[in-house]
């Protein structure tokens, strides 16, 4: 029991952090990250996707350079390009968040591709993610996992 206690405590703290962070926006300077969500995965072999919205309330642009997460070894921002009805996926590269602008990562557009999952993404659970911005530096968020059939953050 003594040995399990710290783990229970840690998950409890994490749960509180998770519920507060996902219910509210996470602010870092002029940037506000909101409505993160991910779909549940089947096992770990296939890449999963996470989505979110970044608001820039400042007067100068910032750039999302990359992503880190404990859920996957190699997360990367990807974008879907639709040409003549043909969908093609590729790395988005650095994503500029314009001054007073909003960048949305949503199905059919951009997503954080979670490759090499460290564990299956289970509905109802959470994982942490760090967004790395050129100016603002790191912003930590908690991403709730919805069902595999979810299509948006309001599931």
């Amino acid at each position: 029991m003594i040995r399990v206690l710290p783990r229970i405590l840690v998950s409890f703290v994490f749960l509180i952090a998770a519920t507060t962070a996902s219910a509210e926006q996470v602010r870092g300077g002029d940037l506000v990250v909101e409505m993160p969500w991910a779909r549940a995965s089947i096992g770990t072999s296939r890449p999963a996707a996470a989505y979110l919205t970044i608001k820039n309330e400042g007067l100068s642009a910032d750039t999302l350079l990359g992503v880190k997460t404990d859920a996957a070894a190699t997360p990367e921002v990807h974008k879907m390009e639709m040409r003549d009805g043909i969908a093609n996926m590729g790395p988005a590269g650095p994503v500029e968040v314009p001054a007073q602008g909003i960048v949305t990562l949503a199905p059919g557009g951009m997503h954080v591709m979670l490759r090499n999952l460290n564990h299956p993404l289970k509905k109802g659970e959470y994982f942490s993610m760090t967004l790395i911005f050129e100016k603002e530096g790191q912003i930590n968020i908690v991403v709730p996992i919805y069902s595999i059939g979810a299509s948006g953050p309001d599931e």
Binding site: G90, P91, P107, G108, G149
Partner: protein, 201 residues
């Protein structure tokens, strides 16, 4: 004077011919553009010989008498495919009892990774009515070709196995007699598809 007049008449005739030719040409060009924006046309005659997620060999004949909603994709696709399959699941739920006459088919365009067993664990996660079909590379090319759909393998270092698949993102509606009816472009809301289907069923 008469020569000047005949030259003028010739000029008028030439101008008229050019005018008519331009009109016809522009018109036909316009049609070509219209056709491409509408996507597949009546030339689509869907046929396939594939294996379903239970390991059964099936052709299009197996689904005569049912409306088919056909989508091409692959199970390693993290965005478009789960989004569309989730939408098809919503359509099936939205149809209520009419869902009995509709079968969604998810046809893999990634035969080297998507075996029947893979398809089985994938499609069931979305809806019990979705059929997952795969086959050999040749069988899949033939199926895709009959739908006038498109897919391509593209190298991409940042994904598993170093490649991804580009593919037609629309959902095809096939009638109970096996005729192509229409496509629903990617992102068509489930309610819109349900309303359209309810009028046809």
């Amino acid at each position: 004077m008469t020569t000047v007049r005949s030259i003028l008449w010739v000029a008028v005739a030439v101008a008229l011919a050019v005018f008519i030719w331009l009109n016809v040409w522009l018109d036909s060009g316009q049609h070509a553009i219209d056709d491409s924006s509408n996507g597949p046309t009546s030339a689509v005659s869907p046929t396939f010989s594939l294996t379903d997620q239970l390991g059964n060999f099936v052709t299009e004949q197996a689904y005569r008498g049912e409306w088919l909603l056909v989508f091409f994709g692959f199970t390693n696709c993290p965005d478009i495919c789960p989004t569309t399959l989730a939408e098809l699941a919503q359509v099936m739920e939205g149809l209520g009892t009419n869902a009995e006459s509709v079968t969604p088919l998810f046809i893999s365009i990634d035969p080297s990774r998507d075996r029947p067993k893979t398809m089985a664990e994938y499609v069931i996660a979305f809806h019990s009515t979705i059929v997952g079909l795969t086959g050999t590379a040749a069988q899949i090319s033939a199926a895709v070709g009959s739908f006038k759909a498109y897919f391509e393998k593209r190298p991409l270092a940042s994904v598993p196995d170093g490649y991804t698949m580009g593919h037609t993102s629309a959902v095809y509606l096939i009638s109970p007699t096996g005729a192509f009816v229409r496509t629903y472009s990617y992102g068509t809301p489930a309610e819109e598809i349900v309303t359209d289907l309810q009028q046809r069923l």
